[in-house]
């Protein structure tokens, strides 16, 4: 791949230093380990009896020695936390190392890299005959590491697509896993019957047990690839959900088969009991999760005085849910996921903004660390455990995992496609099948097999082989294969820019219409739930409960984050486009010479478009597992909607308007996003009333286009935004003086200056009430415009708009003043 070619000297050195650091840490760890042995190596002359007392702190010198020891060391006391910290640091350094050079992680998934580093470290440890820490025993993995990952998955689960595809997800997760387990188990059992392979002593139960372990899918690497290769939202959520829920299924199957494996004879009642047990486990998990989720939400209702510990509740309650479920041997994974999903909405409304951010960051951090450690130890332990290699068994295992997954996906898709709104096509199915990588759960489960199974080492080896094979081979190759498939379908080079732009436009339209029709959800239930939620749940669980539309809350949240973030992030000039300059050009179109576009330019354009055009829906926001959801795109779109009102009004003033219909439609270029419709949008309400008048306005706008410059008028709205309380009075004031300014500003030379002032639409004398509306809209719009150089003015507009209530009295004074201006100027 191109990575090696592009490797610069700097990065090489950086990577080298990283490796050096890793090795040093390793040896550091090794040395520490050695010192833990009760040997006399670390003795200092003055502290001889000390080394026999490992638990006592080195507080007092012994009476026998006369002098005070200058330097003492008590390693065993800190050994455990110290080593743990070192391992975590080591794994984190590895992660830093990968991201030094970004392109690596595009081609090679992080899990591969982590396993490789683990293998290296394991090899080092093995060569010095060290034991790796016993991290992957049953308790540590299932009680400490797995909950963190599951919490992350549950907390950041995109609920809307998930519930809309819930049936499909559960279908693949449950039925698919069972299919895989049974299929692989039986096939392996058939293989075991052949004497030549030497594995005859594995009976059916053990095969099934092993198969259930092997069929767990961990889609981390696949997910990282999927959004880049344009897999649609459906496939994404199916893989995500499947990976999540088949943990639960696998654990159930595992427990069941372990139980059965211990029994000499299996009766049919056991199988039935097993099935019943599955339902008990699943339903019980969901119930516990709901219970703890609601309790957590309720608790956060009262935490407004103890903001510092708010994040704690999220973690404690989820962990409780997990542990209690483990105690009763029901599906702890389901409990945790349900708890997280339930908790999330209510908690995020109750806690402060900072706590919300903290929770998100900490969840991500813990999950990333946990996952990193798991893959890392997978590499380490691979080298250091005993293996039993049996070619036939392992190769057949690999083969069967492929075959059964492929067949499984095909068959299951055929069955479920008729029930789906959008059927899964072949490319989706291939993505699902090929993206079924095995990972950490598989590994942990195989380690926790009871030792009564005499071929445990073989199973361990086989699982490790399958994991490494799928993660490396499939993980690395999935991207090129799907890109190849994509390329075969759309031959990018022959696409004209037109096709690219228009097809993306159509895709956006289509997804918009789909959302509009509520195509995905069975909105009947969703509406019912929403009503129940609003009426009952929110009252109980949320502290300040105002019935808000979701758009308003989203908008408020984004505006808040925006105001905080805008101050230091270079957002680019979202609000200016098409700029005055380009609109000027429109008039000079005929005179402008036609630009010649070279092929290189066109290719560059294709690249620019491909990288910068918004993708459909919000797939970007949750595809990257290692990052927090990205809300910047939503923010951009909402900000732009502010701006496009302004744009539409400006365009209105100097467009050629042959038809009467322009202003009506142009006015709705961009409507204010949601909000409390009764008070916040006097704009629209006024327009409803005066629909026919707008047509007349349009007839008048061509007037101004005859001038080379749109007359600008200064509106002192920047002052208004400061005092939100005095809107109606303040806004009417500046209207009288400005018309005079407009006269001064007119003229071609003041184009630049006029940008920073308001714009006054040409006011038709007889239609007084119209101009008021235009003025009002301009006020609101220009309040942002006037503050062009300063970012914060973007924030006030929504609040600014609220008190704007059209009062007839003010209208008239306003209109009289402003209408004097243009009339007086003689432009008519």
């Amino acid at each position: 791949m191109g990575a090696s070619v592009l490797f610069e000297a700097g990065t090489e050195r950086g990577a080298f230093y990283m490796l050096l650091l890793l090795v040093l840490c390793c040896f550091g760890g090794k040395c520490e380990l050695q010192e833990s042995k009760p040997s006399a190596q670390t003795d200092f002359p003055g502290v001889e009896p000390f080394h026999n007392d490992f638990d006592e702190p080195q507080a007092f010198p012994d009476e026998e020695r006369a002098h005070l020891p200058m330097f003492t060391m008590d390693y065993p006391r800190i050994q455990l936390p110290f080593e743990f910290t070192l391992w975590v640091l080591l794994a984190s350094f590895a992660k830093i190392g990968f991201h030094i050079y970004n392109k690596i992680t595009i081609w090679i998934p992080e899990s591969c890299l982590l396993i490789s580093i683990g293998l290296i470290v394991g090899a080092i440890m093995h060569s010095v005959k060290e034991e790796p820490p016993a991290v992957l025993n049953s308790n540590v993995f299932f009680l400490y590491m797995l909950p963190l990952i599951v919490l992350d998955n549950g907390y950041f689960m995109p609920t809307r697509p998930f519930f809309e595809n819930a049936g499909t997800v559960l279908w693949y997760a449950v039925v698919g896993t069972v299919w895989n387990s049974v299929g692989i188990g039986i096939s392996l059992f058939a293989i075991c019957q052949f004497e030549v392979f030497g594995v005859q002593d594995i009976n059916l139960q053990e095969n099934l047990l092993f198969a259930s372990i092997i069929s767990t899918v961990d889609p981390v690497a696949a997910l990282n690839v999927f959004d880049d290769i344009g897999v649609n939202e459906q496939t994404y959520i199916i893989i995500f959900g499947e990976g999540l829920f088949n943990d639960a299924v696998t654990v159930v199957l595992y427990n069941m088969f372990t139980f059965l494996a211990a029994m000499p004879v299996v009766e049919s009642t056991d199988v039935i009991l097993g099935t019943a047990r599955f339902f008990v486990v699943a339903a019980g998990g969901v119930l516990f999760g709901l219970l703890f989720g609601f309790v957590a939400a309720f608790t956060t209702r009262f935490t407004h005085n103890v903001r510092q510990i708010e994040p704690l509740f999220v973690f404690m309650y989820s962990y409780l849910a997990y542990l209690v479920a483990e105690c009763f041997a029901i599906s702890s994974v389901m409990a945790l996921i349900t708890c997280a999903i339930t908790m999330k909405h209510y908690v995020e409304e109750n806690v402060s903004q900072r706590s919300c951010t903290t929770i998100r960051h900490v969840v991500k951090m813990l999950a990333t660390i946990s996952e990193t450690l798991i893959f890392f130890f997978l590499g380490v332990v691979t080298i250091t455990t005993e293996h039993e290699w049996n070619w036939a068994y392992i190769l057949f295992t690999l083969l069967f995992t492929f075959i059964w997954r492929g067949i499984g996906i095909l068959v299951l898709t055929q069955i479920i496609n008729p029930f789906r709104t959008i059927p899964l096509n072949f490319k989706d199915q291939f993505g699902l099948a090929y993206g079924g990588l095995r990972g950490a759960i598989c590994f942990a489960l195989v380690f926790t097999l009871p030792d009564t199974i005499n071929r445990k080492n073989l199973f361990v080896t086989a699982s490790v082989a399958v994991i490494i094979f799928t993660v490396f081979i499939q993980g690395i190759s999935i991207r090129p294969i799907v890109e190849y498939m994509n390329i075969r379908k759309t031959n990018k080079d022959t696409n004209t820019i037109n096709m690219e732009v228009h097809t993306r436009m159509m895709e956006h339209v289509l997804s918009g219409i789909e959302d509009l029709c509520g195509q995905w959800s069975h909105y009947y239930w969703k509406d019912k739930f929403k009503k129940f939620n609003d009426r009952v749940l929110r009252r109980i669980l949320i502290r300040d409960n105002k019935a808000e539309s979701s758009i308003l809350s989203l908008y408020k949240k984004l505006e808040l984050q925006n105001a905080i973030g805008l101050l230091d992030s270079p957002l680019g000039d979202l609000s200016a486009a098409p700029s005055i300059v380009s609109l000027q050009d429109e008039r000079n179109d005929a005179s402008r010479p036609k630009k010649k576009f070279l092929a290189a330019d066109v290719r560059k354009m294709h690249n620019i478009l491909a990288k910068n055009m918004y993708k459909i829906r919000q797939t970007m926001s949750y595809t990257n597992k290692y990052n927090l959801p990205d809300e910047s795109r939503t923010r951009e779109i909402l900000i732009r909607r502010h701006a496009s009102i302004r744009r539409s009004l400006r365009a209105e003033s100097f467009r050629e308007l042959p038809s009467q219909n322009l202003p009506r439609s142009q006015k709705y270029y961009s409507l204010q996003p949601g909000g409390n419709l009764e008070t916040a949008f006097p704009l629209r309400r006024r327009n409803h009333g005066g629909s026919e008048d707008m047509d007349h306005l349009s007839a008048l706008t061509p007037r101004s286009s005859s001038h080379s410059l749109v007359p600008m008028r200064r509106l002192n709205t920047i002052n208004e935004t400061g005092n939100a309380g005095e809107q109606p009075a303040a806004s009417s004031q500046p209207h009288s003086p400005p018309p005079v300014d407009a006269l001064d500003m007119r003229g071609p030379g003041s184009l630049e200056g006029s940008i920073f002032r308001g714009r006054k639409a040409p006011v038709p004398a007889p239609k007084r009430h119209l101009s008021d509306r235009i003025d009002r809209e301009e006020d609101l719009v220009d309040s942002e415009r006037a503050g062009e150089a300063v970012r914060p003015p973007l924030l006030p507009p929504p609040r600014d708009w609220e008190p704007e209530n059209p009062e007839p009295r003010e209208n008239e004074t306003l209109l009289r003043d402003s209408s004097q201006g243009p009339r007086g100027s003689g432009r008519s």
Partner: protein, 193 residues
């Protein structure tokens, strides 16, 4: 809510809509319940605010244009007929043209393309000017594209499509430029039965 909704829609109306748009009976009733669930004011028509309330539409880059497409000229409310008429553009194209009653069904390829064309062409002058194109382009791209780059892209777009040299894209030019694109599939929704 489902039962109440369907009683408000009379059979004759359903038949008329069926004839005009080609939707099936069950599709019409289903979409009617969606219509009523959006209609918070419960007056039988939807205003733009009702559309704005759909959160996914609010963060769709072309959300406003889509909403705008539902409202015919100079009106602020759309009734169920208008709603269905607009949605009819997105029905999949049937292979057999048995519906000869309507001169050209609303979901024909030409009408789909006209729908898309109208999203650009707000002033209904049957031409997509450079400005209109720029506006839509700006809505669709992120912040990292400068105005000049976007202007070049718009120029190139017009250049590719414009055959009569008027520096804008007419509807026939639009059709020609998209002749290789599978518009039938890109602008079709499989409506649930």
């Amino acid at each position: 809510m489902g039962s109440r909704a369907s009683t408000l829609l009379r059979e004759e109306e359903i038949e008329e809509i069926k004839k005009e748009t080609g939707f099936s009976h069950s599709q019409i009733t289903r979409l009617y319940s969606r219509f009523t669930s959006l209609d918070k004011g419960e007056n039988g028509t939807l205003s733009r605010e009702d559309f704005q309330r759909i959160p996914e539409l609010a963060i769709n880059p072309l959300g406003d244009r889509i909403i705008n497409a539902f409202f015919p000229e100079a009106e602020d409310q759309v009734n169920f007929r208008g709603f269905m008429r607009t949605l009819a553009h997105f029905r999949p194209i049937e292979d057999n043209s048995k519906n000869v009653a309507v001169s050209e069904p609303l979901n024909s390829r030409t009408n789909k393309l006209l729908f898309a064309f109208r999203l650009y062409d707000l002033d209904r002058d049957d031409k997509i000017s450079r400005d209109e194109l720029l506006q839509v382009l700006r809505m669709m791209v992120g912040v990292n594209i400068s105005d000049e780059q976007l202007g070049s892209i718009a120029d190139r777009t017009i250049q590719e499509a414009d055959t009569n040299g008027d520096n804008s894209i007419s509807f026939s030019e639009f059709i020609k430029v998209l002749e290789k694109v599978d518009v039938e599939q890109k602008m079709s929704i499989r409506f649930l039965h």
